[in-house]
Symmetry: D3
Subunit: 172 residues, 6 copies
């Protein structure tokens, strides 16, 4: 099994400027463009953790709360929260700011993507466990199991009855 | 309230060819690029239903089951399943085929995005109800409520205890 | 010789949203961008008919009647009308609509592209004949010969005197 | 009426390198991408002649004789051949060369696009006549009338019986 | 005069994956593509420092020492080193790594860009001074004057005889 | 040693139209986009001179004097000024014009890039000497040595004391 790695070793920061072709007719960033950036940033974090080629396995529910505008600077931070055999969950935080107008930092939203590490033939391959250090890393590590159960239930690969963590959460 | 519309009136088909810049180092389509295409196709379906500018409100859990390759033809079909005040749920089906090698049609996966119709100032505006005709349209219309509850719970805007439809589904 | 195919088997629908980079300083879609989309859509139709790699052989005279605007939804439909040995004629119909302003469907124009099916070394290879069903398909099949003669005359590969179908048409 | 201009004043040269995303699975330049470049180059030539915003009015039959490959350098030359009220015919010559392999210059093909000069509201506006100098410019100027008749006949805006120049050419 | 800011407040990190269209026929990142990324990253750093729209004023000599390959992850870090009235010098560090092959971090090179802060009409506007903290920040702040003299000499806006700092450096 | 070539044999002209995605929020061309175009144009000139694959070795100080606007036509001319073993210096001239508004030709600026010719394995390979004809070509050939010394000093590969040409220039 590969050597464990700290969460911080996979931390990846991307900065993008919202250009005209990224926007709709209201001059707001289109959701699909943001998802595209989030996927690239998260894939790089998963590559850093696994030192492998990675493929996107799933995207958790993403909710777009605030409009991001033409010219805004978008900062995306991704880090691996937990590994399960050949798959890794990546936590993504997106913030946006209208810098040239002295705008406040706008915390827009969080999301989780999962990736599978593969070898040169595209076959899944085991990845290193994650070492958590901070309280936030610990919390994300713990809750990763519940999110994984929800993914498996939604993909029809786990019976709701067996999703213990998920049910505890919903019934709390 | 705007005049009701049939599901078929919002049906939108997009066809894309997977080009080199859409692929990773295994020559497979990157997940983020596919999400970008799905968002555009679904947004057009929501525009057709509402005759309004629309903004992406959320993306449900998407699971990427099969690898799509360089040169494959990707077909994306989107249609509105149900409207809730100013928001619409859009069902998306993606298939891929290696046509020039006489390849089989590969049914890759399904997903749900939601959009909000807005006026020129970006304020939410009511949309027409959906008229269902086929059994499949009826099934998607019914289950839309459960998916909506899951979205609201995940966004922290509905207490799990109040997500009746969702709990029935998970406890079945 | 490959097995005949119905016209409908090659039908391909593409939907595109006109983005800022697709437009000129009047915010109208540039002709070259539309030609690019038409070529991709028609190439996919020719791939579906031939199950082969295809290369663009020629573009017939295209006339741009109506301006298409920023934010409009462009729908392109392509289908193979007739096969001649290794080449196929593809009929393309383009329509545009300003959906979010409740705009009328605007039928913009029709065009014909031809493609040659090739093997992995790029050598022309025979394609299946086309089976026509509707009256419109029959008409397109018949007139394909005249358009082919015009192409050959314009390319200097057929003497005007031998372009019988074309001359009948021009002298009518 | 605007002041006449020499053909050479509108001469425009574009040079492009064929990149991966411009090619099909045989690593050959896709026809639609070349049409896109030709349209931009020809539009700039028409802008230089008219000092106006221009919109593509039509594309004459284009025949793609030779394959252009990944990494090739494509040179496109465009110049206005003749003006008709608010419209201009532009002659386009495309050549390609595999420079880094010491390749021969490959004369690929010629084409004609027409453009209409418009004012800020998009209304057609008269353009300057063309002054021809060389024998080649004279020949292109003369034959422009025949090509114009063919365009009008194909667009259903001129009866074949009235296309005198065109008929003389076809019956020669 | 605007309030002074620490160097760290302008720190901007960009991460990019080298895609096929970014590479030449040896599958190496093209220099111009890297310059494009460096300019965007540095412009964002200058925006963060000045809270203004910024325009690129000059690029210092950049030397490309090591080839960066297709699939490599490129990390670009930019921070403002010193302000001169309305202009800012930005230091840029680029590193590249072939992560999925477990590659070493490759320190590729450093560069300096300068930007001018402008108001909505594009007129230069004064920016805040820079507060340095670390020894490296102090060294960059000091040497900024010498680099500025070289820029002015090369642009013909300063006589070599008056470039005191620069001459001391060259004659040392 | 390869056969000498005239400067004119490497002359390369590129014409680009400034599109929305190339501009900042003031609708001015971003510096990085222009650097990207300059690199491609200069690389093609170096390819024409050497008949080899070339890689960017360095970019000399570039100063951006005048703003170029959305819709402007940018013309870039590049030619090899002198060869040093496997490297070539390329002179680049950029001009911009707002053609559709009848705008004056705006001479924006000049720059120098250097390239190294490489074989299929990426190893440097000797290139042909340059034959100069005009007075301007002669002047560029002579001053190339001074610019080369500045590059080497800035890259830390030549001691300032040994940069004779450069010191003469600065001390004049």
């Amino acid at each position: 099994m590969p050597k464990s790695k700290h969460v911080q070793e996979s931390l990846t920061t991307m900065t993008e400027m919202v250009l005209p072709n990224d926007t709709n007719t209201l001059n707001n960033l289109m959701g699909g463009r943001l998802l595209h950036w989030m996927d690239i940033c998260a894939a790089i974090a998963a590559q850093k953790h696994s030192s492998r080629i990675v493929v996107t396995a799933s995207v958790d529910n993403v909710s777009f709360a605030e409009a991001i505008h033409l010219g805004d600077i978008v900062t995306i931070e991704a880090k691996v929260t937990r590994a399960f055999n050949s798959s890794m969950e990546v936590s993504i935080k997106v913030s946006a700011q209208n810098i040239s107008a002295g705008g406040e930092l706008l915390k827009t939203h969080a999301a989780f993507f999962t990736f599978v590490a593969v070898d040169q033939s595209g076959r899944p391959i085991e990845v290193a466990p994650v070492i958590v250090e901070t309280a936030e890393e610990q919390e994300l590590y713990q809750s990763a199991l519940r999110r994984r159960q929800l993914r498996l239930v939604l993909a029809g690969r786990l019976k709701p009855a067996d999703a213990t963590e998920l049910k505890n959460f919903l019934n709390q």
